[in-house]
Amino acid sequence: MGNTLLQYATVLILSIFVGIEIIAKVPSILHTPLMSGSNAIHGVILVGAMIILGSATTSLETILGFVAVILATLNVVGGFVVTDRMLQMFQSKSPRTRVKKDEVTQ
């Protein structure tokens, strides 16, 4: 039992460092998509919600699990869709291609 805990603690500590390292390099203009993107990633709690609903034996557990799955789905789906919508706008259309399109339509 102690070994498993130690293994999880190792994962935890390494993840902290990786998280900090990766974020330190993100430019401030992308902070909003970053907040929203990491928001979607913690939606992985859906996996946890599925596990608890899937092993629920009493009706109380079933109800709590059911609500947890709904909330977690909101988090995952909403998070990814919103982030994608934001990032879509960052796809810079270079001015040159835009001019070309205008020429074609004229």
Binding site: Y8, L30, H42, V44
Partner: protein, 465 residues
């Protein structure tokens, strides 16, 4: 390979895609791809979970699970697709809150489930931390949502003895955790849940105005930690990795945001900043100084004959939905040979980088958006600084007036330009609730009205001059 190992491998793949996504956010070009890769990884993890077996048994309640997922998707997709870009911060707040709520529920249910097996103390501790952090994130995000959506006042709400009462809630929570650890009582768990719920609300109430975005970032990080705690309880490396990544990066982001406002995180969270509105809101002040307002024609001419114009956008631009008109104005000016770019303050808008998203929405080329450090030297040689709906981010009091609440916050140095043009709805102060000296400067001309209307007028005059 056993089924369990295969599922774990798929989880490892998912964790890897999350890392790729965060890494991808380092550049605007790869960011969208990264997000899609993470979404794919998430899908893989979810599908893999359906095939899990515990003690030779598959998951129960699969139809119920699919129903819950269906409900969640049906609500989330339209909300995420059709929300206004200006309402983005509250949407992120609400999605974050439900995530925290889910993490708390997962921890509670797992506790009830394993309660009869007398779990080890550290397992109970993980559960209790998950419940506490997840619930605080849930109720805190709900209040943050209400503030941003203007369902309640956006200003800090304070009452006498607030700090003491909040500290008491914190101490009671810790006391409850210790008691539950010793007694393993389920009924106390519900009390902890209630106390954590109130703690979340009490913690958020005194935080208002421009500080709410920092708060959301912090709550985002809380939810990540709650997810990591659930991961410990359930024994899932995937939840630990993803939750910790979000938790650690969220705390770093929160600090970066506080720094951008020139304040410490503790100051942001506990000082009830901006609760006193110090601005008079009148055109004339006690010392008799008045503001100078101009006509759209005058300003149009001023802009047309400038060599270099720096546009300083603020939240007012977004509220008026004027980002497209501002681009039209810039296009017209550029057609006349005027050099135009945008100076973006890190906390312009309601979230860091919010303004970039709004301007990108109007197809304003990414290269024209300059960050504060890059923009300020350029302002020295600019003929006109055109401030559209910004206020606190250009307030010179941040530099000159040690008694000002925003003293020390880095600002866009609009005053360095030859002329300052302010497009403003009224003399009302900005988000931080303080008066702006820049309005009274002799260099400054004001053009009152809705940003969209006044910009449209400017486009017309620039065209004709």
């Amino acid at each position: 390979m056993s089924r369990g190992t295969l599922i774990d491998l798929l989880y490892l793949f998912a964790a890897f895609t999350f890392l790729l996504a965060l890494k991808g956010l380092g550049s605007p070009k790869r960011a969208r791809q990264g997000n899609m890769v993470a979404a794919l990884g998430m899908l893989v993890a979810i599908v893999a979970t359906f095939f899990r077996q515990e003690n030779g048994q598959g998951l129960r309640h699969i139809p119920l699970m699919l129903l819950a997922m269906g409900i969640g998707t049906l609500v989330a997709v339209p909300a995420a697709r059709f929300v206004q870009m200006t309402a983005m911060p509250q949407l992120v707040a609400i999605f974050n809150g439900v995530g925290g709520g889910a993490a708390a529920l997962v921890s509670i249910t797992e506790f009830i489930h394993i309660h009869s097996q007398k779990p080890a103390t550290y397992v109970t501790l993980e559960v209790l931390l998950g419940v506490l952090i997840g619930t605080v994130s849930f109720s805190g995000s709900a209040i943050a949502y209400a503030k941003l959506q203007e369902l309640m006042t956006g200003r800090p709400i304070t009452y006498p003895g607030q700090q003491v009462i909040n500290a008491l809630f914190g101490i009671v929570s810790i006391g409850l955790i210790v008691t539950i650890l010793i007694s393993a009582s389920t009924s106390l768990l519900w009390i902890l849940l209630a106390v954590a719920f109130v703690l979340g609300i009490a913690f958020v109430l005194p935080i208002g105005g421009a500080d709410v975005p920092v708060l959301i970032s912090l709550l985002n990080s809380f939810t990540g930690l709650a997810v990591a705690a659930s991961g410990f309880t359930l024994g899932s490396n995937l939840l630990i990795v993803a939750g910790t990544l979000v938790g650690a990066s969220g705390i770093l982001l929160t600090q970066m945001m506080s720094k951008a406002m020139g304040r410490s995180l503790a100051n942001v969270l506990f000082s009830a900043f901006g609760s006193v509105v110090t601005a008079s809101g009148e055109g004339a002040r006690e010392d008799g100084r008045t503001v100078r307002s101009g006509s759209a024609e005058d300003i149009g001419v001023l802009l047309s004959y400038a060599n270099k114009v720096v546009i300083v956008p603020g939240y007012g631009l977004a509220v008026a939905q004027a980002q497209h008109v501002v681009r039209e104005l810039a296009d017209e000016l550029e057609a006349k040979g005027v050099e135009v770019f945008y100076a973006i303050h890190p906390v312009a808008g309601r979230m860091p980088g919010h303004m970039n998203v709004l301007l990108a929405e109007a197809n304003i080329p990414y290269e024209k958006l300059k960050e504060m450090d890059e923009a300020n030297p350029e302002l020295q040689t600019a003929d006109v600084a055109l401030v559209v709906g910004a206020n606190d981010t250009v307030n010179p009091a941040a530099k000159n007036d040690p008694s000002s609440p925003i003293y020390g916050m880095p600002i866009i140095d609009a005053l360095a330009a030859e002329n300052v043009v302010f497009l403003k709805r009224s003399m009302r102060p900005g988000f931080a609730g303080i008066e702006n000296e820049l309005l009274f400067d002799p260099k400054t001309v004001l053009l009152f009205g809705d940003a969209k209307d006044t910009l449209t007028k400017l486009v017309a005059t620039v065209k004709n001059s």
